[in-house]
């Protein structure tokens, strides 16, 4: 059966793409964020994943309000990135793994999650930039991928508890997948930030650090909050921590922290990165 080698969770703000394009990884502004990936690169060389299941939120590249799925799972042989309107470079297509996609979809529907299935899916910066952060020097993407998209555009959003259970179910599906694939789970978004309204610029370091600690000490801690309570703490876009919870859920009850990094600010956002292993 397949093995989950670990889960990486990271912020995904678009300006990371601009910083990479302009080779600013070593600048005073960006270095504290990019340095958080050195230990992850070393770990990935040992872990050698074949596939990445990437849990992210679309920001209006693929999905519009005409049809807005709460959960969507890619089931394509390839996923393309595209122009998002503000000039960050478009990254090369990502090879899919349709067999694993359908296995995850069948498991989810069998366990009463009902995702939209996507044989065509454009993946935006929330998918592409974390992949570039994980594999900055690869000539071709070294993993196949399965995108899992959670709605954070239009309320009601799925609850933290629901997203954690989604992750648990995806984890069960991966561990029951025949073969010996080594699967990396990626959860992207957050941490605290708010782009809209008079509270724009809201950041909550204390809550973010407590949340990161909870992922090893008490992974269901954040599931006790409503989304409104979470947004009060971490901001309207800080709610993207739902992706971290889903990714954490895949690992089972116990996980250890291999590495973590936290730096304020990247763009308007508290930049967080964690590597967890079962």
């Amino acid at each position: 059966m397949a093995t989950i080698v670990g889960a990486v969770t990271t912020s995904h703000v678009p300006s990371i793409g601009g910083a990479i394009a302009r080779h600013q990884e070593e600048s005073d502004y960006w270095k504290p964020f990019f340095d958080g990936f050195d230990a992850i690169h070393a770990w990935l060389r040992e872990a050698k994943p074949d596939v990445a299941v990437v849990i992210y939120n679309d920001h209006g590249l693929n999905f519009f309000l005409d049809k807005m799925p709460t959960f969507a799972v890619g089931a394509a042989g390839e996923y393309r990135n595209a122009d998002e309107g503000w000039g960050i470079p478009v990254l090369p297509p990502f090879p899919g793994d349709p067999a694993l996609s359908w296995h995850i979809i069948e498991t989810l529907v069998g366990r009463e999650f009902d995702p939209v299935t996507c044989q065509e899916l454009l993946v935006d910066h929330a998918f592409t930039l974390p992949m570039k952060l994980l594999f900055p020097d690869a000539a071709a993407w070294p993993v196949r991928s399965v995108p899992v998209c959670i709605n954070t555009v239009q309320h009601p959003l799925p609850s933290a508890a629901r997203c954690y259970r989604l992750g648990q179910t995806i984890g069960d599906a991966i561990r029951a997948w025949p073969g010996d694939a080594r699967v990396l789970v990626v959860g992207t978004g957050g941490l605290s930030h708010q782009l809209d309204g008079k509270r724009a610029g809201h950041i909550n370091k204390e809550f973010d650090l407590k949340f990161m600690e909870s992922l090893t000490e008490d992974p269901e801690w954040a599931t006790r909050f409503t989304n409104r309570e979470l947004i009060a703490e971490v901001g309207t876009q800080g709610i993207e921590l739902l992706m971290w919870l889903a990714a954490r859920g895949t690992l089972g009850p116990r996980a250890r922290r291999v590495h973590s990094n936290y730096h304020i600010p990247i763009s308007n956002t508290a930049g967080g990165t964690m590597l967890l292993a079962a």
């Binding site: 209006g60 782009l195 724009a200 610029g201 409104r228 009060a232 763009s267």
Partner: protein
């Protein structure tokens, strides 16, 4: 959303009510994923807004380049960010405008949150 749920200061959640109010504006902003549409907007803003059927409130908010007005007219920040991209504005520009701060002061506020 429960009527009894406490308000979050300076924050309006983009729910079904807002999504219906803002549909035309957000649909226009969604179109800005494509470079040809960004060019068409800049070439004839009135015609482009008319083609998407913006309400009078939305048209005024677009004319004013005012983020709080755009949000009040039902704009969603993820789609509005594509409009901001046309104007060459980044999210610190948007934050500064919404909070009535200079961009430098807004960036300093973000830096201060890390200490």
């Amino acid at each position: 959303m429960s009527a009894a749920a406490p308000e979050i200061p300076g924050t309006v959640l983009f729910d079904g009510r807002m999504a219906m109010r803002g549909y035309a504006l957000n649909k226009m902003c969604f179109s800005f994923n494509e470079a040809a549409n960004r060019t068409a907007f800049l070439a004839d803003e009135d015609a482009y807004c008319a083609a998407y059927g913006l309400t009078a409130e939305q048209r005024e908010a677009v004319r004013h380049r005012n983020v709080l007005e755009l949000l009040a007219a039902g704009g969603n920040v993820y789609y509005l960010a594509k409009f901001a991209g046309i104007l060459g504005l980044d999210v610190q520009d948007l934050g500064a405008q919404q909070t009535g701060m200079s961009k430098d002061a807004f960036k300093a506020k973000l830096q201060a949150a890390g200490r």
